[in-house]
Assembly symmetry: C2
Homo-oligomer: 498 residues x 2
């Protein structure tokens, strides 16, 4: 990293050199906070138009063996550092997309480097255990000092997984087993001969026609079960067989919130009523409701704590599990460690799933009855990856050391205030600004969204979109006020070019 920083400095001081254009060199001075990473560059730098010639050539090479049509850019991670992502043409962009909201503590974070170089890591990499059969003797310690140390309140157990999709799907499986166990009259009740036989033919009652309810515009993954609960865009779902599962409307709130309080409350009530109606009436009985605290892929759609409290009440009343999918919202980005911490629920969710910023995945639960009544019902070869669990532990240590959840709350407020000013100045380009008090989990709608995102790179910023028209900000937890200043300046520059 030091080497990266030096070469970056060299480029910055050599501003007269041809294509190198340093941006916002004084931005960091305006913010009071000391940078977390002293080696981090102070501004983006642009060496070529983006994509540059190296990027194009490398993409062509990769395309021969790997589908690159969704390629955003080829990155040089050796040269990336902190909040800055490097490409292969000498460009260094302030990264407020952070892969797909999945980098928490910066590229080439020095503490994670130590974790990656540790004997524990080498051991986990070269002796990969089948965690259900042959866990390592220190697996309980790795869990207790990492994944479980940051478990949501009230949930003290975990089933580990590899990514958001299988975290959600194994959570759904737990919900179905729990539902049928309750119907059967308890964990000690044996399966019937008919169940044992029909399930081998994928038929009811052994393979029951139960369902998971999700919400319009939800995203929960793209394997067959998770995709059946995903309702984001047709392109995610077309041509893939799906289960006949219900979807409820998700509140469509109006902004600014303070001007539409009564209307929004009514909209949330409407949605809750429909949730309850579907639970009572849908032809395939609902074993669980799954919801994102903020619908991310679907366009950054928010709802109030009251809505989620209502969901918790309804699901409890009808003996339906309440699964909170924190794959994108979890691990600090909303200014709380878990986004559902904002809700002040009377009783915790039954299951919370996680992935992305955690670098590993799984589902938390608290009720011991959610462990299936027999071994091998919830099982697979690896059941996660200790190497990635060690990285998550390092991330939690870094979050604690630097107080990054609080940082994200504070920086988020600062950034939101700046965006509010821009929204007033450019109301046609910055609409429905949302995410106030939600850390840096901020978004707005732009009628020229795709153009906005494309232009962002050439002012030195990497930004992502969500839904049809949202610009979504997903900076890392090490995003500070001086980065916010650069971002605000960049947003204004882009708008002026639209």
């Amino acid at each position: 990293m030091a080497a990266v920083f030096r070469s970056s400095l060299k480029l910055r001081t050599a501003t007269r050199l041809s294509a190198v254009r340093p941006l916002s060199t004084t931005a960091h001075l305006r913010a009071a906070e000391k940078p977390f990473f002293p080696d981090e560059p102070t501004a983006p730098k642009l060496a070529t138009a983006i994509p540059g010639p190296n990027n194009k050539a490398a993409a062509q090479k990769l395309d021969q063996v790997f589908d690159v049509r969704s390629l955003n850019m080829l990155a040089d991670y050796y040269k990336s550092t902190g909040n800055y992502i490097a490409d292969t043409d000498g460009n260094l962009l302030l990264d407020v997309y952070a892969q797909i909201a999945s980098i928490p503590v910066g590229y080439n974070n020095p503490h994670l480097r130590k974790v990656a170089e540790s004997p524990e890591m080498v051991n986990a990499l070269i002796n990969r255990p089948a965690l259900g059969n042959f866990p390592s003797h220190d697996w309980a310690d790795i869990l207790n000092t990492g994944i479980l140390k940051v478990a949501p309140k009230g949930l003290n157990q975990v089933f580990t997984a590899l990514a958001g999709s299988d975290a959600n799907e194994t959570a759904y499986k737990a919900a179905f087993m729990y539902y049928r166990q309750r119907e059967r009259g308890g964990a000690e009740k044996e399966f019937t001969e008919e169940e044992l036989q029909t399930t081998m033919n994928n038929q009811s009652p052994g393979s029951p026609q139960l369902s998971i309810m999700s919400f319009k515009s939800a995203f929960h993954g793209r394997l067959f079960g998770s995709l059946s609960t995903t309702r984001s865009k047709p392109i995610h779902k077309l041509d893939i067989p799906a289960f006949d599962w219900p979807q409820a409307p998700f509140p469509s709130l109006k902004y600014p919130l303070e001007e539409h309080a009564a209307e929004n409350a009514q909209e949330e009530q409407r949605c809750l009523q429909e949730v309850e109606r579907l639970i009572k009436e849908f032809h395939n009985p609902v074993a669980a409701v799954v919801v994102e605290p903020i619908q991310s892929e679907g366009g950054d759609n928010h709802a109030s704590p009251a809505f989620f409290q209502g969901l918790r009440d309804i699901t409890k009343r009808h003996n339906v599990l309440f699964i909170v999918d924190e794959v994108q919202t979890g691990v600090g980005a909303t200014g709380k460690f878990w986004a559902h911490d904002h809700w002040n629920l009377a009783t915790p969710p039954d299951i919370v799933t996680f992935s992305k910023k955690a670098q590993t995945a799984g589902y938390y639960y608290g009720n011991p009855a959610l462990r299936p009544n027999k071994p091998y019902r919830q099982f697979n070869t690896w059941m996660g990856d200790p190497a990635r669990a060690l990285i998550f532990r390092g991330i939690t240590e870094e979050i604690e050391r630097l107080n990054l959840v609080e940082n994200t709350a504070i920086t988020g407020d600062y950034l939101f205030a700046g965006l509010e000013r821009l929204a007033k100045q450019y109301p046609e380009h910055l609409q429905n600004l949302r995410g106030k008090g939600q850390g840096t989990f901020i978004a707005w709608d732009s009628p020229k969204r795709d153009e906005f995102l494309a232009k962002a790179k050439n002012v030195g910023v990497n930004i992502g979109g969500s839904g049809q028209s949202a610009v979504r900000l997903r900076p890392m937890l090490i995003f500070q006020k001086h980065h916010a200043d650069i971002l605000l300046e960049s947003v204004e520059k882009i708008i002026k070019q639209l």
Copy 2:
């Protein structure tokens, strides 16, 4: 590792010491081959009854946060080496289960250690890319020198994944998209408005009622789509909703094969006819047939090359994709790099999936039309893990350096011959011996299978089972004749205790 070896030696020479019982100390002398790992112990050693007191205490601790009912043993991977797995009580077992058939080149393999300590690995661990959007500049190189260097003949493309389940499910998705694209009349044909709308409700035609055909006793994973093709045991499937997909009979062969040639050929014909009938008649049209070269989890069920050639013919004739699931059979264990190399197919399978010994996962394909017609149709956040892809590359290097596929073929023949002798001697305990000419991918049926497996540990060997009554051998690729001698001796010891 050296330290482990020394302490093992110390224990072996101190045979008069209390509980330490060295086994087969001269076994290695009988085999001519030079050991691949000079530091490897020459025999198992037993320090306590298994499970020992430390194991029991650690399991109790782990149980507080993680379901341990499927626990086989808690391992100390720091003390494991080569073919030997250590527990926490000082026991060291010859491991012919190798996690769940997923360790290829030995515990603490020195070459993999170098890979794990390399700057590339550290980079991959701490800067985890979203491979579809922001692959690293060297991702093409990592693929070409690793995953793709060992690609099955005729398949030069890969979609990377994290484990066997998602490898299979993304392969199924590719098959469904391909099927509908053909129905629509080509890649350039646009989706209809009806498709775009119905898929958001999980309804046909947007979410079509197509199917994947699998075989009785098959195992292809445990997420919702893969579980719908898994037909191994009720406990894997009960209470989980499943798609209405067809299953064909898998040949039930009689052993020894040479005594039942005509009968077995007829049985295979019967199964092929049923496959063809189902393709023609099943109410949910079949987009692909998926098959394991050897049904592993389902009980080590084999079929002849003629059967698989027949499958290839039928699927080709009916425009149905032929997916070969090499998750357990791939990467050398059958004495060929891919088990389907044994079949001499006229045209390659359409898709081959892999995981386990590869430590990473994905599906190979060759036909460019299997890339969906638009970006983001086959996509997820991580799409694999470069850290695990680097480990696979290291494994392929080690396989090449030590000629491990050939070793497995040779050792397998040697082991099989030894087991044939035992089968003659103990016909009641060693039935339906199978896997001749299939490397070390060997199994037999035992009426007292569970007892056999339980006793194995206390003679110093870790062995797994499959199906209802099979003892399945899944040694690593570094399993040599001197290990086979120890195993054969151990099998006889166990049988004498039954």
